[in-house]
Symmetry: C2
Subunit: 341 residues, 2 copies
């Protein structure tokens, strides 16, 4: 029983007890086939012609720049950036991601190194491998491909990555220095950087804009929301516990979605003329496709096209730019290590 | 000129360039005497009787609990918690705050130690003093009273405080571990803890509630918004660059204000039945008062009373609970140091 004088926090176990809130998973209700919406009442004079933000070609431009910088570094100091990727288990999607990433490294001249582990290997082996990579002077970035197998302690493994090689930007001090204006993290998470890059390159004014961020993972939602605030946007965070999320998103000038739920963002969630960045990468069954599935975002794309002024497609939108940012973070890390500008 | 392939970030100076956004101050337009609002059209049957959240007595209860724990610690291990306060310069408000804090320590049996410096002392002296305090085993918490004189590097001085004695919760890894669900910071900033404590003790359901946080300082707005999200509230952050902030706050079930601007939050900003926590502590000229000024919050209190269901007054609301949380953080730190439960 709680004593009358005790802190609310004293009633539960941890050192902070209730104060930190219960750690609940975000469980959205997925909609396999969304019910059709009535046709939009608009004549041709008010019809929008939305810009499809071409993430693929933006990523190409960024990679070309990185490639050039890597070449200059190699010419000048005979060094190239190195990225180590830690992959545990046999998940097909993880293997595919890792393949994209290492291929992207290769294309720009970044050395990549793959440390593979079986799903049932001792956690200790992975921690030891990360510790080794921390000491390896040819490695400037270490990426642990998520999700890890469920029985593993993700936080323990991630926390083995040194803050100087934390190209994913998950280290507590990198997150904390991103959150506080005036401070400088060593790394900004790739998705957050990609989001800002996509918006700035599309000519979007962030300062004073109203942004809804759907999803709050440490990979996308959280850092993107923190970074948007540093650009003086007004940010609302929508998650699985949000009541009537559409009421919030439909007032936003910009909607960022990273919930991992296909068809979550309907036309009714979007304000006319808004801009949508879709980080969703969801596999949806598709009997017409050779693979038996197709990849879609979180946004009902065809519906969104009826109201938005600009949108990233999936695939070919936020994904390739996020991978380009991983290369950019690895390059920055190598430049910092060698004092090369 | 930006090259076609460069990152947006490459066009400016720092390692992250534009990506982190420009560091702009939050400048609100203060309203000395707000224009009167028309009387609210409500008959007696719909009239709300708002709860005045009694921060003073909540703080007293919390302090009584801390006092008891300090006594138990002293009895059991002959040790008491110790708080060091670093005060630089002669600001009257800072001196007053420090006095409240050290007096509050004394009342619960926490040892306090004041390290005072003149405004023109070398920054190095303060950093050295903090480093000494980090090593002092009788000190479990170190607080640098803000604001520091303008010519000093606040971040440099704050970063000298060891993460284990960071009772204000400003250390990058404490902020980062607060931001990421599932992680545990060593300290949660006092104001954020106070806010949750005030709401929980007032029987407010946080999960799924719509919260607007006005202001985004590292002292109040930022950590409060992060902590509310850990309690699964839907949080919107309003700041000086927000267009039509009232449009956001008036949809919130809970409004937290920490902008430092008297009369900022008008009746029109508040939804009927909402709950208001006011962290504003603003000195306003008052010729009727002996001191020549009175202290008000950010909220037009009399106006708010017409629509809210609960509100903290200023003074006597969030302030005393925030100070109680400083004692709580210092006690937790001492318990951690001595392994005392």
């Amino acid at each position: 029983m709680q004593q009358p004088w005790s802190l609310s926090s004293s009633s539960s176990s941890g050192p902070h007890g209730d104060i930190l809130g219960p750690d609940l998973p975000d469980i959205w209700t997925p909609i396999a086939t969304p019910p059709p919406l009535p046709p939009l009442n608009q004549d041709s004079s008010t019809k929008l012609t939305p810009t499809i933000i071409d993430g693929k070609s933006i990523a190409e431009e960024i990679r070309a720049g990185i490639s050039e910088e890597v070449r200059q570094m190699k010419d000048a100091i005979k060094k190239v950036p190195g990225l180590a990727v830690v992959l545990v288990g046999q998940r097909m999607d993880s293997k595919n991601y890792v393949e994209y990433k290492t291929k992207a490294c290769q294309e720009v001249g970044i050395e990549s190194l793959l440390a593979e582990f079986s799903e049932d290997c001792p956690e200790e082996d992975i921690v030891n491998a990360v510790t080794e990579l921390n000491r390896d002077p040819s490695v400037h970035g270490i990426l642990v491909q998520l999700p890890l197998p469920k029985h593993m302690d993700e936080e323990r493994i991630l926390s083995a990555v040194s803050v100087e090689k934390d190209v994913d930007g998950f280290h507590p001090s990198n997150v904390g220095n991103l959150a506080v204006r005036g401070r400088e993290p060593l790394f900004v998470p790739c998705a957050a950087k990609a989001c800002i890059e996509l918006l700035i390159r599309s000519g979007v004014e962030l300062r004073g804009s109203n942004v809804a961020v759907v999803g709050r993972s440490k990979v996308v939602g959280l850092p993107t929301s923190l970074l948007l605030q540093r650009h003086h946007a007004t940010v609302s965070n929508v998650h699985a516990f949000t009541r009537n999320p559409g009421d919030i998103t439909c007032q936003a000038d910009i909607v960022i979605s990273a919930a991992g739920v296909p068809n979550l963002v309907r036309r009714s969630w979007l304000k006319r003329g808004s801009i949508v960045i879709d980080f969703g990468t969801n596999r949806v069954e598709d009997t017409d496709s050779e693979l038996g599935y197709c990849v879609t975002g979180d946004v009902c794309y065809e519906e969104a096209l009826q109201v938005v002024s600009a949108i990233t497609p999936v695939p070919g939108g936020a994904g390739p730019v996020t991978i380009a940012m991983l290369l950019s973070n690895t390059l920055e890390s190598a430049k910092r290590t060698y004092g090369f500008n």
